[in-house]
């Protein structure tokens, strides 16, 4: 398709800073439980991540200032799904997060992306919820995890937005999100954790059943290692942001199987305590997208 080009070419990254309310998510104490997070450390890690994206990978970085009123706004991945020149502004599951989209929408329009809204609760997509962390775009098709955060209606809206692509749904159990188990590791490579049987099923279903395409699968033993950020930067080099050895000691060797990659170990320990991962921090955009 017009928009079909190998996955991984990006020119811009949109991030949102760590607010001081980091970890104090209102109303989801049940989710965080008694986890204690180090906000300063989280900010340092965020700084490392953005630094890597800007300086190592070479992306143009757009940072939206943090909003203390939105303690989870740093999880910017959830609020938009971008493919080509179209940005779907999502409707997060949690009511408190829905105002996070406003700032992101502005940025998207400044970038001249075509904005698609998921609509109100009463519209055709009424009740639809979708979070970007449940969406895996491979460059060829979408997989949408049907989870506690994303429902079928949300997936349908996504399918209606990105009509060129097949949109397959994958059930995701528990409080997890699809991208907790998998992410892109290259134009035709999917990194999948092998942590338990459930994910095995996921893998079988996704890789063997739902797709017509053939993907290389890089299996990593630790779940935390399965979420990476692959970017083919302006320099045409392959970059892979992954968790450092201290966070996933058993999986580092797997990353080294990727030939000619520039590995960028990036710590994410604090965010991961809140159920997030590397990809949660950024929206990747390709504004040099061409049709040809």
């Amino acid at each position: 398709m017009a928009n079909m080009c190998p996955y991984g070419r990006f020119t811009h990254a949109v991030v949102r800073g760590i607010p001081e309310t980091f970890g104090k998510t209102a109303g989801d104490s049940h989710e965080n439980g008694e986890v204690t997070v180090d906000q300063a450390k989280a900010q340092r890690q965020f700084g490392c991540l953005t630094g890597a994206l800007r300086q190592k990978v070479g992306l143009q970085l757009i940072e939206i200032p943090p909003d203390p009123e939105l303690p989870e706004s740093w999880r910017i991945e959830d609020v938009a799904v971008i493919q080509g020149d179209t940005a779907l502004i999502t409707r997060p599951f949690k009511q408190q997060r829905r105002s996070e989209v406003d700032a992101v929408r502005r940025v998207m329009s400044e970038l001249n992306l075509t904005i698609v809204e998921m609509g109100d609760e009463l519209g055709d997509s009424g009740g639809a919820t979708l979070e970007g962390s449940d969406v895996l775009f491979t460059g060829r098709e979408f997989f949408v995890g049907i989870s506690s955060h994303t429902n079928r209606r949300g997936a349908e809206v996504l399918a209606d937005t990105f009509r060129d692509f097949a949109v397959s749904t994958v059930p995701v159990c528990g409080g997890a999100r699809l991208k907790d188990f998998c992410s892109m590791g290259g134009p035709d490579t999917i990194i999948i954790s092998n942590s338990d049987g459930a994910k095995k099923t996921l893998r079988v279903r996704m890789m063997e059943q739902l797709t017509d395409h053939h993907y290389e699968v890089l299996t990593v033993p630790e779940e935390s290692a399965a979420n990476c950020i692959y970017i083919k930067g302006p320099s045409k080099r392959d970059f892979l942001l992954h968790r450092p050895a201290e966070e996933c000691p058993d999986s580092i060797s797997a990353f080294q199987k990727l030939p000619d990659y520039t590995p960028l170990p990036t710590a994410c320990s604090e965010a991961s305590k809140l159920g997030a991962s590397l990809s949660s921090f950024c929206l990747l955009i390709n504004r040099k997208h061409t049709y040809f």
Binding site: M1, T86, R163, D164, A166, D212
Partner: protein, 986 residues
């Protein structure tokens, strides 16, 4: 829309002519309607429909040579009533194409006409659709009669892409891609193929470039794209974006723009997905999408499941339920069956058929044979066209220069046929014509001793016969029974069964031959048409296939293999011929199509008696040997009685022997022996294959209800090498088609005799093809052909006179075959081809249906006539079709496997009011002894007024009288009675 021209063929013919003329005029006058010039093109003629339909032929001929003689229209034809129906086909560019087809015509006739009109060679990706009562789109089954599919309403159709090639860049011709683009544009605009705005823009821009060329501000202005539809909801913004992109395409040719278009369109997730509404087991509304890779399950717009073809073990339907049995997954132990509910029975069957077709087309190397069930319930439907693998192989052989065509929907595109190989082809054609034209018997033998052939039973032969029979009656369930089919063809190890109505059919286990045969039967014409492959291709395919039955062998191949000597010639010939045509001239191809059509027409024959004198025992045996065969035969041949007199029997042909024979044959083949028809001679070092095809198509429709008579060509093929043999068999199938070709040129000869004889068909086919591996021989052969052709031409002219004698004899006697030496000229004309090589016996199991092998070996010159030819024995059949085979005991069996050299082969057809006789004479020389095998097929058509038994008896008697020195080795009586209410309609 439907027009029934029930009246005389004569009346109709003029109509047809008019139409053709109209088309021409239109084309000339109307630049806007690009697609309406089919008839003008010479090629079109060749493609034209089966010989059965005189009218059609006439049309073709006319179109062919509009100014030339219209001799083809014989007064006699007028007697026959052929109902012509006007079909309106909506083409991909939105224009309507109107064409008349015989009411009884099968689907492929219409399809072929359209493809011809469109100048489309890679037609296997396409199909014709019609709307049923529920306004649902259905694919026209090429093997079934139109009238049985269009139950009610006007005969309106649409031409569509049926199988979307996953990689359009692999299509051979730009014109094919163009039509695919047109289909996709419609898919996009109609919303069937959803795309994003960006994609609409991109596809639209390529469309504009393709249709309008480079952007030109002065000429085009700023508004030029508004007339073109790009999207379901076209906005100004979209048009502006389209123009933006369009400006950047300067210099891009239309073909390039279409390639870009397709490269983008093919990536769309819904590209080529055929959606069907359904509910899952829980009653949830879903959509089932059938595509090249498998079955997709959608809920709303989301893909919730996908079953790749390799995962599907079986597809079945029962009432409105549709089931798929799934191969157990990595972590599963048992296969599971998933059921879906379709809106109704028709919908579930429609889905099932689409699945069967897609699976076969995209996953198999060659089509499966229909189920063997005899009495079983359920659909026998199978996809019988070419698979993608086959069509790719075939299209790789397309040698014509890129046809010129205009892309604007409002413009016409010119169809140009390539002139390649024209000389050769032409030569072939001419001879064919001559041959066809005459009712004159053709004597092939050179002073050779005529020996009667005893019947030997060879499995192969039997098979071949069966095949022939099957060919004739594709639709008959019996055909399925025939032999096991080989399902080696499947690309994937996995096999998918197709069962309907609860019947589980194991598709794969069946014998290939049978399947092939079936396939052939059902859709012989399409195949023929399709065969564009060269002989060399065939060879390759066979070689590749190994056994021939399986893998690479395409339907055609399979068919060829399966075909028995008698059968084989037809089938084989056509394929063989086609290849030649391809190589030589494009023109011939059309003819092939015609032949195919002809074949189809055979079914119509109400009652036919086929008397075949088969030099080779093989053939005879085939028919006689097994009861089941008989059944199969019956299915295939409608109303045909086969009397197979085998002049010679070949010892069970063994490949080795065959080879030897072939060698000999090559050497021995005398120039005179060369058949006019030899379209391709393949001489392997070991052997030579000569295939003569003589399809005969005659339509005598005295009574509408009764039916049309069509004589089946009995091609005889000689194959030296096993490989060759295999090829030949398929060739035989094709051969029929080739015959058809002949028909187009054929001249109708009217005898003073009461009976009107249409010779057209028989001679047409006189194509023999030598395929020499070295190819050196080929050229020689060609030369010979040309000579013969010339002779034939002359002969044609003279036919009524000098030759007329022979022809008259033939005519008068209905079946008259001159075995005696004929003048050289006559020989040339008469020879159809083939002969010789015996061989197949050894490997009966091998699918090589050995074609007839004529062993020169001294078959006793005369076999006692006492052969069992109980004419009266013909059973009265109330059932639709009955086939009875009478075989004489094997007279002489030559242990020698050596194949004789084929001296000559010829087919003669004569018609009377109620009887059509086709005679195939094959002469083979082996070891200095010549063997002549005569096969007569007598088709008796008529209503109750005619005593078929008597007619048969008469025919047999005459045959005996005519050939006192020959023995009748086999008689096959096939009776077909039309019980169908539809006939009553006629």
């Amino acid at each position: 829309m439907t027009t029934e021209s029930g009246a005389d063929s004569e009346a109709k013919q003029p109509q047809a002519n008019k139409e053709a003329e109209k088309g021409k005029t239109k084309a000339a006058a109307d630049p806007a309607s690009p697609q309406k010039q089919p008839e003008q093109l010479p090629a079109a003629v060749g493609h034209s429909t089966p010989t059965r339909k005189d009218q059609e032929q006439e049309e073709d001929q006319e179109s062919h040579r509009s100014s030339t003689s219209r001799l083809s229209k014989s007064p006699l034809r007028g007697v026959k009533k052929v109902k012509m129906m006007q079909c309106k086909i909506t083409l991909l560019d939105g224009t309507d194409y109107t064409v008349n087809v015989e009411k009884r015509a099968k689907g492929h006739v219409l399809f072929d006409k359209v493809c011809e009109h469109l100048n489309l060679l890679e037609k296997d990706y396409f199909g014709v659709t019609y709307r049923d009562v529920e306004n649902q789109k259905n694919w026209l089954d090429p093997s079934k009669e139109l009238k049985k599919q269009i139950r009610t309403g006007p005969w309106n159709f649409a031409f569509n892409v049926k199988f979307y090639p996953p990689d359009p860049s692999q299509l051979s011709e730009d014109i094919t891609r163009y039509y695919l683009c047109l289909q996709l544009r419609d898919d996009v605009v109609s919303g069937r193929l959803p795309c994003s705005f960006a994609t609409h823009t991109l596809l639209g821009s390529y469309t504009v470039q393709s249709e309008l060329g480079d952007y030109d501000l002065e000429e085009m202005g700023s508004d030029y794209v508004s007339e073109i539809r790009f999207a379901p909801n076209q906005t100004k913004e979209l048009e502006e974006k389209v123009m933006e992109l369009h400006k950047t395409y300067k210099g891009m040719t239309p073909a390039e723009a279409e390639i870009h278009f397709l490269e983008n369109a093919k990536k769309l997730s819904m590209y080529g997905v055929d959606l069907h509404h359904a509910k899952d087991s829980e009653g949830v509304e879903i959509m089932l999408g059938v595509c090249s890779s498998g079955l997709l399950i959608y809920r709303d717009r989301l893909r919730i499941n996908r079953f790749a073809w390799p995962k599907i073990l079986k597809i079945s339907y029962k009432r409105n339920n549709f089931y798929i049995k799934i191969r157990p997954g990595e972590f599963e132990q048992f296969e599971s069956t998933i059921g879906f509910k379709l809106p109704n029975h028709r919908a579930s069957k429609r889905l099932w058929k689409v699945c069967v077709e897609h699976h076969t087309f995209f996953r198999l190397v060659s089509p499966e044979a229909p189920p063997k069930k005899f009495l079983s319930l359920g659909s026998k439907f199978r996809y019988s066209g070419r698979t993608q693998a086959q069509t790719r192989r075939a299209s790789a052989q397309i040698a014509r220069p890129a046809p010129l065509f205009e892309r604007t929907s409002s413009k016409r595109y010119n169809m140009s046929r390539s002139l390649d190989g024209a000389p050769i082809t032409e030569n072939h054609e001419t001879p064919v014509k001559d041959g066809t034209g005459d009712g004159v018997p053709k004597v092939l033998a050179h002073e050779d001793i005529i020996t009667t052939v005893t019947t030997e039973r060879k499995a192969e032969e039997e098979k071949e016969e069966q095949e022939e029979v099957q060919k004739a009656a594709t639709e008959t369930p019996e055909a399925t029974e025939m032999t096991p089919l080989r399902h080696d063809t499947k690309t994937d190890s996995e096999r998918t069964d197709f069962a309907c109505d609860g019947d589980m059919t194991a598709t794969e286990s069946e014998a290939d031959e049978d399947s092939e045969m079936r396939t052939q039967d059902s859709e012989p014409p399409p195949e023929v048409v399709k065969h564009q492959t060269n002989i060399s291709e065939l060879k390759r395919s066979f070689l590749e296939t190994g056994s021939g039955s399986g893998g690479p062998g395409q339907t055609e191949w399979e068919k060829r293999l399966s075909s028995s000597p008698l059968r084989s010639p037809r089938a084989d010939e056509s394929p063989m011929i086609e290849p030649l045509e391809l190589q030589d001239a494009n023109d011939e191809q059309p003819t092939e199509e015609e032949t195919k059509q002809v074949v189809g027409s055979k079914d119509t024959v109400a009652a036919g008696y086929l008397v075949k004198y088969v030099p080779d025992s093989i053939v005879t045996e085939g028919a006689t040997s097994s009861g089941p065969h008989g059944i199969s035969l019956s299915t295939t041949m409608d109303d045909d009685v086969f009397i197979n007199g085998t002049l010679r029997e070949e010892a069970e042909g063994k490949s080795h022997e065959e080879e030897e024979v072939s060698d000999r044959s090559d050497v021995k083949v005398s120039p005179g022996a060369v058949r006019q028809e030899v379209s391709q001679a393949i001489s392997d070092k070991k052997g030579t294959l000569i295939i003569f095809k003589q399809p005969e198509n005659k339509e005598n429709t005295q009574d509408e209800g009764t039916s049309e008579k069509k004589s089946l060509p009995a091609p005889i093929e000689l194959e030296t090498d096993e490989t060759e043999k295999e090829t030949e068999a398929p060739a035989a199938v094709k051969g029929q088609t080739s015959v058809v070709e002949m028909l187009s040129p054929t001249v109708e000869i009217k005898t003073g005799d009461t009976a009107q004889i249409k010779n057209i068909d028989s001679p047409k086919k006189a194509m023999a093809s030598w395929i020499s591996e070295e190819k050196v021989e080929v050229s020689q052969v060609i030369g010979v052909f040309t000579k013969k052709v010339e002779e034939l031409k002359t002969l044609d002219e003279v036919q009524q006179k000098a030759e007329g004698i022979q022809s008259k004899q033939l005519e008068s006697s209905l079946t008259h075959i001159t075995v005696s030496e004929a003048s050289a000229a006559s020989l040339a004309v008469s020879t159809f081809g083939w002969v010789s090589p015996s061989q197949k016996a050894s490997a009966d199991q091998d699918e090589k249906p050995v074609i007839t092998e004529n062993e020169a070996e001294p078959v006793t010159s005369k076999v006692p006539d006492g052969v069992d030819v109980p004419s009266k024995d013909v059973p009265v059949v109330h059932t639709e079709t009955k086939t009875i085979t009478y075989e004489s005991a094997e007279v002489d069996t030559n242990g020698d496997a050596d194949a004789g050299v084929l001296l000559s082969a010829q087919t003669i057809t004569s018609e009377t009011t109620s009887t059509t006789t086709t005679t195939h004479i094959t002469k083979t020389v082996k070891g200095g002894i010549s063997e002549t095998r005569i096969e007569k097929r007598i088709v008796i058509t008529g209503d109750a007024d005619i005593d078929h038994d008597e007619a048969l008896a008469q025919a047999i008697k005459e045959a005996k009288e005519q050939h006192p020195d020959m023995s009748v080795t086999k008689v096959v009586v096939h009776k077909e009675t039309e019980i169908t209410p539809e006939e009553g309609e006629d």
